[in-house]
Point group: none
Chain length 209, copies 4
Amino acid sequence: MPTAEPPARPIGRGAKVRTAVHAATVAELLDKGYAALTVENVAQRAGVHKTTVYRRWVDRDRLLVDALAEHMSADIPVPDTGAIETDLRALAHSIVQTFSSPTGQAILAAMFTGAAHLPEIAEARRQVFDDRLARAEPAVTRAIDRGELARDTDAAEVLKTLVAPIYLRLLLTAEPVDETTADNAVQVTMAAARAGLLRTASADVPASE
Amino acid sequence: MPTAEPPARPIGRGAKVRTAVHAATVAELLDKGYAALTVENVAQRAGVHKTTVYRRWVDRDRLLVDALAEHMSADIPVPDTGAIETDLRALAHSIVQTFSSPTGQAILAAMFTGAAHLPEIAEARRQVFDDRLARAEPAVTRAIDRGELARDTDAAEVLKTLVAPIYLRLLLTAEPVDETTADNAVQVTMAAARAGLLRTASADVPASE
Amino acid sequence: MPTAEPPARPIGRGAKVRTAVHAATVAELLDKGYAALTVENVAQRAGVHKTTVYRRWVDRDRLLVDALAEHMSADIPVPDTGAIETDLRALAHSIVQTFSSPTGQAILAAMFTGAAHLPEIAEARRQVFDDRLARAEPAVTRAIDRGELARDTDAAEVLKTLVAPIYLRLLLTAEPVDETTADNAVQVTMAAARAGLLRTASADVPASE
Amino acid sequence: MPTAEPPARPIGRGAKVRTAVHAATVAELLDKGYAALTVENVAQRAGVHKTTVYRRWVDRDRLLVDALAEHMSADIPVPDTGAIETDLRALAHSIVQTFSSPTGQAILAAMFTGAAHLPEIAEARRQVFDDRLARAEPAVTRAIDRGELARDTDAAEVLKTLVAPIYLRLLLTAEPVDETTADNAVQVTMAAARAGLLRTASADVPASE
DNA sequence: GACTAAACGAGACGGTACGTCGAGTCTTTGT
DNA sequence: ACAAAGACTCGACGTACCGTCTCGTTTAGTC
């Protein structure tokens, strides 16, 4: 939850600062990386004074998270191709494209590098991720409605199964992630879904089919 | 394993220091977390002087990575139950147990929190992971030999498919990981393997079937 | 006078710090001596933080020199008794008193102990000394005007001849310097001056006599 | 075997070390200056291990003083021209030459830069100086015997009067010291001596003339 | 259109940790 | 038995950045 000021007096004023600092933060992050990201540099890049930054964000980490959250929460194209498989493929490709770029790499790294301390931050990271998942859920829901997937299919589970191998490669192994990776993920996910392995919790203890 | 000292003189000498500092590092990490991990504190805890630490490790981060690498490269029980499914289940459970403990959490976090800068460090992290995977591969190989899995099954691929959902939950969503998570992962992996989706690269361009 | 404010803001602010640190520096110097003079101790004594000291003075040595320069450049009573001999005597006594005290000893020692490296510092030391000489010159000038000394008498030369034996004893031999030393110096100087040995450079190549 | 080795082991060995270290010390001092003179460098330059240096000299400062004392106590030409004035002139010129060279400057500086702490060191410095003076005293004594100077002339006083202005310039003002400086010093000293101002302490009281 | 209060610019400051350097000491090993 | 080799302790150095504080200077909204 970024700065939510109820319309007191200062309305149109700080918005420009906020935007400028956000941009500067992400830019610095991309240029120098997390370790070398100083508040002072960000401030200077934003054409603003250090104190001003501290007036709006308690912390360097909070600033980062806020900036990234905003940066990520933008345009996520939720695909709707009419078939779950192509939808998932579009989704997977979009993730791959987002994070296999240098920019994406930097962002990913930053989200983990400024992480452990402050549960607040881990929480922020989780939220960003959850948010993205939530936005994609309708694709699964539609598939269920279309009868492509079983009624008790767990949308979140489907999506997690889809993205897990991609993130694994992005975060742990250094393998290049490309369309093939994405496609494989789709196939595995579809196989699992069709096998009835991605159902809602209550159905985890499989009785019949 | 990380620091391979060619048998110079100081074999029996510095070894004690090395061990003590490693232990102190991990201990501090668990106690205070990455952010509050000071070289000075580590040194003190190891009953050693700060400069001595700097003589052996260039950097705070390098020290951490080295300590963790050693800490992780220990006892990994490679299961051999006679059936691939139970082997995978054992493997998955072992990961879950390792990292769902507070200790494991701290280590995981640390491995990512000291990350982005120094590709050296990302590399170290990758190596630790790869190492663990490599040790588990025989389980898959044996299954192939037993005829449980297709001849062209990609062992690494199988294992990645297995662990991906677990790490996803550990790193991105904050969901509790438990036996259920592990079991689900096993089932998905088995389904994918049986569907012929986890074959070696050359077979990725499907000809037959 | 609103327009006459070149010295921007930080005038009244840092001045207090500057003074406090100067005082603390001299105090520490006197208490512990040059070798044991720590920036940290000085800072603490001044009720200021180490970094603040480093913000204003590049170096421990620079700090010392600066502090001493200020300390020495204070009130130097230029005597004016109406006769050159008594003026010189007053001057000599003043030097003796200044430097034969423990305090003076410490300062003297410090001025040389923090010396050789950094020509900057040798320069500073020279300046302090020159400054003191320059302030005393009027005494000689007046004597010339009164006809006590020859018109081409070199004031600086006179003063150097006066102080040389005193500093010799202070710096090289460890003899106690007292009034007798001072008086002897005066007599020697007077004798030399009257013998026309302390004339300006142009007269250094003596033609007459 | 015991009789076959007259200059046993520890005698011939240590002497060489001593000499080498002394030389290395002075060399380092001249090259880098006092501030940058480390025991380790000296040891290395002498082809000896640090520990060995510490076995023979308690201290860095003690080492320096010892080395310099040896270095200075060498060849001091005590002039004997048959006339006090020319003797003094020779003496003064010799001092000027010794210390106006870069080498001499470095030595001088070093003698003061390692000074304040350890009264032991100030003492050593004093001794070096006293030694030089003592060696020169015969020149004055001979002059007294020849009847050039009054019987109660204080030889030490004469010499100090002679060297004082030279050292003043060397240590305090940065003026170049040359033959002129030396000659002036001689003239002043002679004037003072002839005026009966440089007599032994007991004669300081009587005002006869 | 002037007035007032919040936001900003500027910059020093206290504080924590960093990584470095050199002085001396201690231990191990070779001769 | 001695000394070369080198690791270790200790203390200080100077640096970087964090986050705080104070004080003057805009500037935006209200009257």
